[in-house]
């Protein structure tokens, strides 16, 4: 699945991956690929601008460290990011359940 299909969902996926613990960009992309069993194989270079955007929005924070003589930026989920992730998880669950009901022609659940 390439970029176009992922549009709109990338932020949720990135927040979910970073929620397990601080990660640098390469590790985020590898984790995304691993968890999606290579389904989300998007151009790696486009993940970094998304990480920067999430940091600017206050959902992630980043720190620089030195690893093998190179500067490395590591991203951490902020408390604001954690609550945004919770909300986005819930709306994705609602949305995917609704789509599944439509695709499987199953009746919409009622509360009565």
């Amino acid at each position: 699945m390439r970029g176009q299909a992922l549009k709109g969902h990338l932020d949720l996926l990135l927040l979910a991956v970073v929620s397990d613990g601080p990660k640098h960009g390469y590790a985020v992309i590898e984790e995304l690929r691993l968890r999606s069993v290579d389904t989300f194989d998007l151009p790696e270079g486009t993940v970094y601008p998304a990480l920067h955007r999430l940091e600017k929005a206050g959902y992630l924070s980043s720190d620089w460290s030195e690893v093998q003589g190179r500067r490395r930026r590591t991203y951490t989920l902020t408390s604001r990011g954690a609550s945004a992730l919770g909300e986005q998880r819930q709306s994705w669950a609602d949305f995917s359940a609704a789509v599944n009901h439509v695709l499987n022609r199953s009746p919409w659940p009622t509360t009565s």
């Binding site: 992922l6 990338l10 151009p43 270079g45 970094y48 955007r53 690893v67 490395r72």
Partner: protein, 276 residues
């Protein structure tokens, strides 16, 4: 990275694509870390160094697209030159000439007033000068919008105040015949814009000129207010001299900043770029 010639070349292209962004060097270092790690993993899997680099770069994506994705990820727009900022540069230059023209016409009206009745040529000249100065203020304010955009939409409270003061400076020329009011507004606006420009990398010379002119204009504005309160003529020669010196310095600042913005190589608008 002598043994990573392809990655070096890629990072050079990426730096060129992102040179307008304030964190361009951080971006290059982050991408370098990613690419070198990707190459090491591929070499561990048995690829030779050159093939590993080609594979890692293919996975990372075209440097032009990646650079533009970085630019478009900035809230409020990237700090880069666009057609809008270029036009704003021209607006600042035209505004500078209008400030000079308007002040010259006003000065001519004061001179004519010495020998003729006010109702007639002096008054007509004064009104024409006021119209020209209003246009100068409006163009200056639109130039500030461009400066703000060129700064990545982040001049902040100083930029917003500067914009409104430029507008007030233009409009009050008509609202009051007392030049001390609009000179004060213009001076404070210029000082705020100059302050916002410090350390931004945007025409640093103009920042200093704006602050100096702002100080002069604001000082002479306050001085002229004092003259009015003590019922002394505010056309007092020393005050007028400082006023014109402040205006001259201010328009030099506008021209320096305007030329800098108008001559920049324009890049694509962030909104038109590919994003994920």
């Amino acid at each position: 990275m002598a043994d990573h010639i392809l990655i070096d070349r890629y990072l050079g292209e990426l730096r060129r694509e992102t040179r307008w962004l304030r964190d361009a060097e951080d971006i290059a270092e982050e991408v370098a870390d990613h690419l070198l790690e990707a190459v090491e993993k591929r070499i561990d899997r048995g690829l030779d160094r050159m093939t590993a680099q080609k594979s890692a770069l293919r996975e990372f994506g075209d440097p032009a697209l990646v650079g533009r994705a970085f630019a478009s990820s900035r809230t409020g727009g990237a700090a880069m030159p666009t057609q809008f900022t270029r036009r704003a540069g021209y607006a600042l230059i035209v505004s500078a000439f209008l400030w000079i023209a308007g002040n010259a016409i006003h000065f001519a009206s004061f001179v004519a007033d010495q020998t003729r009745p006010w109702e007639g040529l002096p008054q007509a000249l004064y009104m024409i000068g006021a119209l020209v100065l209003v246009a100068a203020g409006l163009l200056g304010a639109s130039g500030v919008l461009g400066v703000n955009r060129r700064h990545g939409g982040s001049l902040g409270i100083r930029g917003r105040l500067g914009f409104w003061l430029f507008l007030v400076a233009g409009i009050t020329v008509f609202a009051t015949w007392f030049w001390g009011v609009w000179a004060t507004a213009l001076g404070l606006g210029a000082a705020l814009i100059g302050w916002a420009l410090i350390g931004s990398g945007i025409a640093p010379r103009s920042a200093g000129i704006f602050i100096s002119s702002g100080g002069l204009l604001a000082a002479v504005g306050v001085w002229s207010l004092q003259l009015v309160r003590s019922e002394v003529s505010f056309d007092d020669p020393p005050a007028m001299l400082v006023h014109y010196a402040g205006i001259l310095l201010f328009v030099i600042g506008e021209v320096v900043l305007g030329r800098w913005m108008a001559n920049e190589e324009v890049v694509e608008e962030p909104g038109k770029m590919a994003t994920v």
